[in-house]
Amino acid sequence: MTYWPFWIVAPALAVLTVGYWIALRRPLGVAGVLARFSRIAEEAEFDRGAAVLQAEQAALEAAMAQLTAEAFGELAPAGTEGAAPLAPASTEWPAPPPEPAKAPQGRVCAPTPTLTVHATFLVSLALGGFVAALVRGTFGEGMGKSFAAHLGAGPRSLLALAAGGVLVGFGTSLCGGCSAGHGLTGCGRLMPGSLLATVVFFASAVAASLLIGRLA
């Protein structure tokens, strides 16, 4: 199996990573998206909660007025209908002087997209791989000659893929990202943890490749 030259792929990945951030204000990552689907019930509950907050603004304001009185006591201004009577002061915190509004600092992320958005991302990811294989005429070739030479093409290869998948899932969950999240986005943002994770990813990959090559 031949791959596209690095001088095409590398700029394309850079454009994709930066473009993803500019378009969505979110860091590009695949493992994190997959992880969301592993806890789909909780994520769906969060999505429903966010939708309720958006839809029930009037009820939200009334509920918040009461909670404000409970949290801040007499510091909370009365003025919203439905607000509970002010509770006695429960904190000694003095009201600080208001600061002038500042522009958002640092790298501000947009809110987490809904599951539907991330499901679209995953489906598009698979679709992109399918189209690329069709265009290159490699659809149905499996994992390539190198993979077959080392691990065969039968049950042994399936076992290797399953074991590799489990290790990748465990590792990315453990370190909070995969080669896309840490390697592309994290390194692009010079995040120390991502730089370290990427060094370990690739050093481990080289070591594992050499070991499998010797054992095969």
Partner: protein
């Protein structure tokens, strides 16, 4: 010092728009944001529940029904 997460926080626009709720913004978003439960969870890389308030209490979404007119 202002909280760096205000742009993505679903509660911040509410605090900013409603003067009766501005005390949350003044206390948490613009001053002691390190003590905000939402900020602390976000710092851990955990998705923040939409109903979690800055003081750690949770808004009862099930009881969030439109007020009688």
């Amino acid at each position: 010092m202002k909280c760096p997460n205000t742009q993505g926080c679903p509660l911040f626009p509410l605090f900013r728009m409603k003067s009766s709720l501005g005390v949350w913004q003044t206390h948490y978003c613009e001053n002691a944001f390190e003590t905000c439960a939402r900020y602390q969870l976000a710092q851990q890389g955990v998705r923040v529940p939409p109903n979690l308030l800055p003081n750690g209490k949770e808004l009862n979404l099930a009881g969030l029904t439109p007020p009688a007119s």
